[in-house]
């Protein structure tokens, strides 16, 4: 479980995160949503230690990450996996070597075991045929799947995803969502996904936190969004005409069922 207590982050005079508190549970896909520039990425970077918060606590199963020294943070990071918006695969390594990298670095397995584990991870994301290809030879969706395989290679307890669907078509996004959701439940990982993809929100969001201008504006499940009266949230989630119509239809259906 990850807990954030009264987290603040400023860059000079500009306060980007303002008093954010939240809890992310094990075995659930937790979504952080919000408009571009609302502070989602900064929040995730604070959680993984790529940025240091100005004040506040980040607790990993009760252990305060902010107060840890450098070595403790390095050890803690070995329990984390992260999928970046750009996939961030090492372009000098092929797909298999990318997935093997964390195993080569930190596991005590021999070469055969490491190879077997990497192939298992690639099989989990349906990419076993692409293991000899280099990142620039595969599509964006495949790169994201390799990034997922690499992130789960060391069986992390915490998985962070920074906009995993950005730049992907809706069908590929769905594949990525299903993978992340499946892996979260299969390995009982605390997954935090930073997104503004509404399909992800409605499809896999077991807990959703809506950030607006650096503040936590709303918290709930995907099923609560339909009924939410929070204007900022509904403006954001149902921004397009299509989604607005869908919401109206859904509300009418509910009203009819109730009467």
């Amino acid at each position: 479980m990850i807990e954030i207590n009264h987290l603040y982050k400023s860059f000079g005079d500009k306060e980007v995160l303002k008093d954010i508190s939240a809890t992310f549970e094990n075995g659930k896909t937790n979504l952080i949503i919000g408009q571009s520039g609302s502070g989602k990425t900064v929040l995730v970077k604070n959680l993984v230690g790529l940025l240091d918060p100005t004040s506040g606590e980040v607790l990993y199963d009760g252990r305060n990450f902010v107060l840890m020294d450098k070595n403790e943070k390095v050890a803690m990071r070995r329990e984390m996996g992260m999928i970046f918006q750009s996939a961030a695969l090492f372009d000098s390594l092929n797909v298999l070597e990318n997935v093997m990298f964390p195993l080569d670095m930190f596991s005590s397995m021999n070469y055969r075991e490491r190879m077997k584990r990497a192939q298992e991870c690639l099989a989990r994301v349906n990419l076993i045929d692409a293991e000899k290809k280099f990142p620039d030879e595969i599509s964006g969706g495949m790169q994201k799947r390799v990034a997922i395989a690499r992130a789960i290679a060391l069986n992390p307890k915490y998985l962070f995803c920074d906009e995993p669907n950005s730049g992907l078509d809706p069908k590929t996004s769905l594949v990525i969502d299903e993978l992340l959701h499946g892996i979260t439940h299969e390995f009982n990982i605390t997954t935090i996904i930073n997104t503004h993809d509404m399909n992800s929100v409605m499809g896999i969001g077991e807990k959703i936190i809506y950030i607006y201008e650096g503040k936590k504006e709303w918290e709930g499940k995907s099923s609560d969004i339909m009924m939410s009266t929070n204007e900022k949230l509904t403006d954001f989630v149902f921004a397009s005409d299509l989604l607005k119509k869908m919401k109206q239809n859904e509300m009418e259906k509910m009203r009819r069922n109730n009467s």
Partner: protein
């Protein structure tokens, strides 16, 4: 203001070098990177070093013969000056200036691209000391290979000089051999190698610093690459003066 900026930059460089020269997480992975960097930074530079050295050696020899050699000078003077120029300055300092352009921009753009595409962040998240994993093998790789490049450069330069003697008939090969052997001081070879070790460190560490600390996008990577080459070149020129004075 300028001094303040310079000191800040130097402080950041020292901190980064402190991180780079820490104990590697896995010796096996470090060794793999070290061999890879020796190949990409050193072995891949042999071609250009040989090419430039051959022609510069030939040109120096021609210039010396045409501009210095006279009936008043001993016949070994062209060969002697060619050897001294190649050994004392060209193969160490000038060759390193050329390599600052080739290797320095390569290092800065590689690390800069890794930074902007979040590959360095990915390493950090895994718990890898990214500076140690990426920078130390580059520095040690180039420092290891540089003395060989200097020796190859000197040898090829002299070969170029012989080319002018045998093919161009600018001077006789006997006169050239006499000059090359005249008053030879073995310490000059060591001096050249010692200087090149310092220059190799400057090229690899300064370029790594500029590449690793890139913030922004592709434009910044380009700027970092340029800054790395300019800064390395200036530092090589400054340190050349001090090292020459110190070692002579």
């Amino acid at each position: 203001m300028l001094i303040d900026k310079g000191l800040t930059l130097f402080g950041r460089y020292i901190i980064l070098m402190g991180r780079a020269f820490s104990r590697p997480e896995r010796i096996r992975m470090f060794a793999k990177q070290y061999v890879k960097e020796m190949s990409s930074l050193g072995v891949n530079s042999i071609g250009i070093v040989l090419l430039i050295s051959f022609f510069i050696g030939a040109v120096i020899c021609i210039q010396m013969k045409l501009n210095i050699q006279s009936p008043w000078m001993p016949r070994w003077v062209s060969g002697y000056t060619t050897r001294e120029i190649m050994l004392l300055e060209f193969s160490s300092s000038i060759m390193c200036l050329i390599l600052a352009g080739k290797v320095g921009s390569n290092i800065a753009s590689e690390l800069g691209t890794m930074r902007v595409t979040q590959q360095i962040d990915a390493l950090e998240i895994m718990g890898v000391n990214s500076a140690g994993y990426l920078i130390m093998p580059k520095i040690l790789g180039l420092v290891t290979l540089m003395p060989f490049l200097v020796i190859f450069s000197s040898a090829t330069g002299i070969l170029g000089a012989y080319g002018t003697a045998y093919i161009g008939n600018i001077l006789s090969p006997e006169d050239l051999t006499l000059g090359l052997q005249h008053n030879f001081t073995p310490w000059f070879v060591w001096m050249s190698i010692i200087k090149s070790l310092f220059f190799a460190f400057i090229i690899s560490s300064v370029s790594s610093f500029y590449g690793y600390t890139v913030e922004g996008g592709s434009v910044e990577v380009g700027k970092a690459s340029t800054n790395a080459v300019v800064c390395s070149s200036v530092l090589i020129l400054f340190s050349d003066v001090f090292l020459t004075k110190l070692l002579s």
